[in-house]
Symmetry: C2
Subunit: 179 residues, 2 copies
């Protein structure tokens, strides 16, 4: 299909590694460039309270220079099990812990140029505690919303995050929410 001519890493940081490959198509001999953001992947957690509300966080997203409303999520530490990551992010971002976490589904967020894979979980039997946010997450706001409030926010384009909307699709597909 193609062969690799060259590969160069332009940046390697804590979140992203930027790699650019030059390839040659085997049939036409034409050359092409592939720009790839290599990401460790992450976990998303959908916390559901005993009252049936969904817990979201509203936080400043630096790349957009704007606040977004999303389910809690975070990136994997090296070789980390996504379930462990989901539990950690639940506690760090919301203060809740849970002894009932189950797998919902997985998504590639931007498969055209990025390797990021997100595993999505749902957490029930929530217990309150203290959150333990990282610097830069201090001003995060917790929102506990009913499904109809969330649907309204999506219709108003106040919720525009793909992992959050994908997670709601999985909840619906599994019969956990109905709309």
């Amino acid at each position: 299909m193609y062969k690799l001519i060259s590969s160069k890493v332009y940046y390697e940081g804590k979140v992203l590694k930027l790699q650019v490959d030059e390839i040659e198509y085997e049939t036409t001999k034409n050359k092409g460039i592939r720009e790839i953001a290599i990401h460790p992947g992450g976990a998303v957690i959908v916390p559901i309270t005993d009252e049936g509300k969904l817990v979201l966080v509203k936080q400043f997203r630096y790349p957009l220079q704007n606040d977004l409303i999303e389910f809690p999520a975070g990136k994997l530490d090296k070789n980390e099990d996504p379930l462990i990551c989901a539990k950690r992010e639940l506690e760090e971002e919301t203060g809740y812990s849970s002894d009932k976490i189950s797998y919902l589904g997985k998504i590639y967020t931007a498969p055209g140029y990025c390797t990021e894979l997100l595993n999505i979980f749902v957490a029930e039997n929530l217990k309150s505690g203290n959150h333990n946010r990282e610097e830069g997450e201090k001003e995060m706001q917790i929102l506990e919303l009913s499904l109809s409030e969330i649907i309204e926010l999506i219709k108003e384009e106040q919720i525009v995050d793909s992992k959050t909307i994908s997670a709601l699709f999985f909840l619906k597909l599994k019969g956990i929410i109905k709309f």
Copy 2:
């Protein structure tokens, strides 16, 4: 909240620009790094045939070194209207054209580190034609699937693309599909 200390561009290509900012939190004076992939944004198109089938494409995704099943999509040309982009990608990737395209919703694919915004559209009244794929898209396969076939593929994790799953959520929310 924070002030910008420095900003450096490590790479600028056709798809991505990789920028790293150093910031200082105003209250604590602690410093932080923000790695940002700057992306032009894109458009997603959900083509629906007169028989009610949804048109998807199966294509090799270089970053994943694997085939993915997705709704047709592409990135915006400079200053391009997302609707124009959606029409172009529909014709290029599937060969269909449409005189009935409507807006469904928008998503940020990876707001933690990437600026990409996708506008999602639905195309009806499809007319057949010849596709006009770019190099590297030649081996793309077109799939015309019923909703129940798509749901089955999602359950089997054969469809794992966040924009595709988000688009299905919007279709359901607007009453265009029912499940």
